[in-house]
Symmetry: C2
Subunit: 425 residues, 2 copies
């Protein structure tokens, strides 16, 4: 039965499907080889035992006790650098450019497109933070303070400096991300997002569709300005993956509905592809060799999967207030995420409910109860920790850092892997 | 008053705004100079008096009598080559690749995205026909019959042959065009398109949005495969222009509502930008010098404007059956197109109706009556003829044709300029 496949076989399946097929210029078999035999099994360049212990000690041995992992993470948070603080100033300039770039001559569009870029509501800013840290981690120089001034050049103008081109990747990634949120909100008839009313309910579906299209178009123009065909292809692939993920979610067969393998594939498309391909783009623009840009891709992919698994978890455990959206959103939308799929291995009565998408009265409450009465949440947490560990291993596998600042940024990327696990909203 | 500006001043305004701002690598002032003093006023390389007479003899002297122009066009249709026949076989291969490219692993998406690419319902196929003719018109060789086989390479693979890259421009242009139709249908709540039920009513808004997004993403990936940054920028600009046009239409101020200048600006964004930029992309990929690719852009822009003006005309004069969509669609959607704007110069009582978007009972019928009781339709036809003439002049200004086939294709491009005027659906 597909739903009862072990976690290990699910991960192997994931490695052989989701990742192998999306490596840009790499062939599928090369990517598979890299993932199965590659840098993750090599001795890490800089050993960080606490991360290894943190993420992997209980994995494949059953559930990771929640109290234990959270205690360890609490300790880490006091010692590891704050990843957001390292790039805070540069992030501000990227956000500011993003806000300005949507201020076109047509006011309603600016209002719509800038909705998600308002000061203070940019969401977690995880993606641009990760990308700026990745850029510095792999750089041989400390970025000049000149790059803290807002880039005021038009979107179709080629930035002369490498750092400016990398900042544009952060900008493009946010544009694509927000465009997909806007369209998803219309598609899902969502009524809240990030604690705000969703844009479609504020300005109507019409404007939400157009604002999303505008951001995609502006992202394409900005992308073209980078004059790097491989990078253009990587980010264009992200847009197609986002659509494919949404479609996969809409059109799942009964077998797929209860398949963890299918769930991971969809999650790669909807969340991890953007993070993987944008990290790779940063490395390529930084002039890194193929093997390092592949590592960057793998960091983004694993972080993306961990991020989404925790998101699915929080839909069960977080409150509406801290999450900024209703809890049990997924169940109510008929979606069976990792906690439910794991729980179904113990409680087969979840299967028919998954197949009918929790549509009968009482389904959502019963499913929730069965998830809590199973190892579903713990296994999801372990699965997330496994991917966070893989992301941390990638940082260890990077070639030696050129500067102290690069080393600090790597610690920031490491810290992100634990913050993703410990976040509560 | 903006609404009473003369046709001539409107055209001058058009030249100075819409075209000057969208010339890719050209500066606004250069473009303006080109348009005001450029090739259109130079002696044509190959004099074609019948086209000049046809399009310009009555322009700026008042209305062009409908019977006269149609008689002349009927004569032309019997002597000019059939532009669609010249590239019919190659067009088939482009359409076939288009159909196949949307056959992804997710069936519902294929169904949605291929909806507009079904055999026999591809619409007028004007765009890809124009582009293939443009490619041959400027080529020093007759395209090999090898290019009549369907290109089976994946969308992200760079085509080695120039002709294949040019075919991809035809493919990308149709993808962008159809994506915009899909999203516009959702935005406008349309219920018919090309004589078929609109996709949003068949498959739901959700799938229509996603299918549009899929086509835009696939267009971006295909575009990146061409490895030509200028071409990537040109076609990315088209996507932004399409959005800007739709937004302009949504958010018009009272002054703009009655302004012909604003109408032309919107029409450039919504229709002509795609044709202008794709023609220019064909010339660039064909290795043409800057001045020739600018001419190609100008052909597309003028043809696009003529095409849309006739479309607006047919909304008044065509029947539902021949148009494939309800007549008076624009009025009922609250839109004042060229015939109404011209009519308002004679009948000021149209102004308040335009401003309230024909929302009061009887507005649509009264507006229709006032349009018929004015020179609105004739002036629109003359305006369309003026732009068709400009497009024809561009072909005359091309450097001498290298082959007989290239010459024949130029005649095909000429013939398109008259067919656009004479079409009845």
């Amino acid at each position: 039965m597909r739903c009862s496949r072990s976690l290990v076989s699910a991960i192997v399946a994931l490695r052989s499907t989701s990742s192998a097929c999306r490596t840009g210029s790499t062939s599928g078999s090369q990517a598979l080889q890299l993932l199965l035999e590659g840098p993750l099994s090599q001795p890490p360049a800089q050993h960080r035992p606490h991360f290894h212990e943190l993420h992997s000690r209980h994995f494949n041995q059953g559930a990771l006790p929640q109290a234990g992992i959270l205690q360890t993470l609490a300790h880490l948070r006091t010692t590891a650098p704050d990843p957001f603080a390292i790039v805070k100033d540069e992030l501000e300039t990227v956000s500011e450019r993003l806000r300005r770039s949507v201020l076109t001559e047509v006011p309603v569009l600016s209002r719509a497109a800038s909705y998600f870029f308002q000061l203070g509501v940019e969401g977690k800013r995880l993606r641009p933070t990760m990308l700026l840290l990745m850029a510095s981690s792999l750089s041989s120089v400390v970025p000049s303070t000149a790059f803290l001034a807002v880039d005021e050049s038009p979107p179709d103008q080629h930035p002369k400096e490498c750092r400016r081109r990398q900042q544009r990747i952060a900008e493009i990634t946010e544009m694509i991300h927000v465009a997909s949120l806007l369209h998803d909100d219309v598609i899902d008839n969502s009524d809240s997002r990030r604690g705000l009313a969703a844009l479609n309910t504020v300005l109507g579906n019409k404007t939400a569709i157009l604002a999303g299209d505008f951001l995609l178009a502006r992202a394409s123009i900005t992308l073209a300005s980078l004059r790097n065909v491989e990078v253009i292809q990587l980010l264009s692939q992200v847009i197609e993956d986002l659509v494919s993920g949404e479609i996969l979610q809409m059109t799942t067969s009964p077998d797929q509905l209860v398949s963890l393998d299918h769930y991971v594939r969809k999650t790669f498309f909807k969340t991890a592809s953007l993070m993987a391909n944008s990290c790779k783009a940063i490395a390529i623009l930084g002039g890194q060799p193929v093997e390092v840009s592949k590592l960057a891709w793998d960091y983004g992919r694993n972080l993306g999967l961990a991020f989404q698994l925790v998101d699915d978890l929080l839909d069960f455990t977080g409150s509406t207030k801290s999450l900024g959206k209703p809890a049990l959103n997924d169940l109510e939308a008929g979606l069976a995420t990792a906690p439910v799929l794991f729980a179904a291995e113990e409680h087969p009565q979840l299967r028919p409910m998954i197949l009918r998408k929790f549509a009968e009265p009482g389904d959502v409450q019963l499913a929730q109860q069965l998830v809590f009465d199973s190892q579903g949440l713990d296994k999801t947490r372990s699965f997330a920790a496994h991917h966070a560990q893989q992301a941390a291993d990638v940082i260890d596998a990077f070639p030696p850092a050129s500067t102290e600042h690069a080393q600090k940024c790597r610690e920031g990327l490491m810290a992100i892997t634990s913050r993703v696990l410990s976040r509560t909203k």
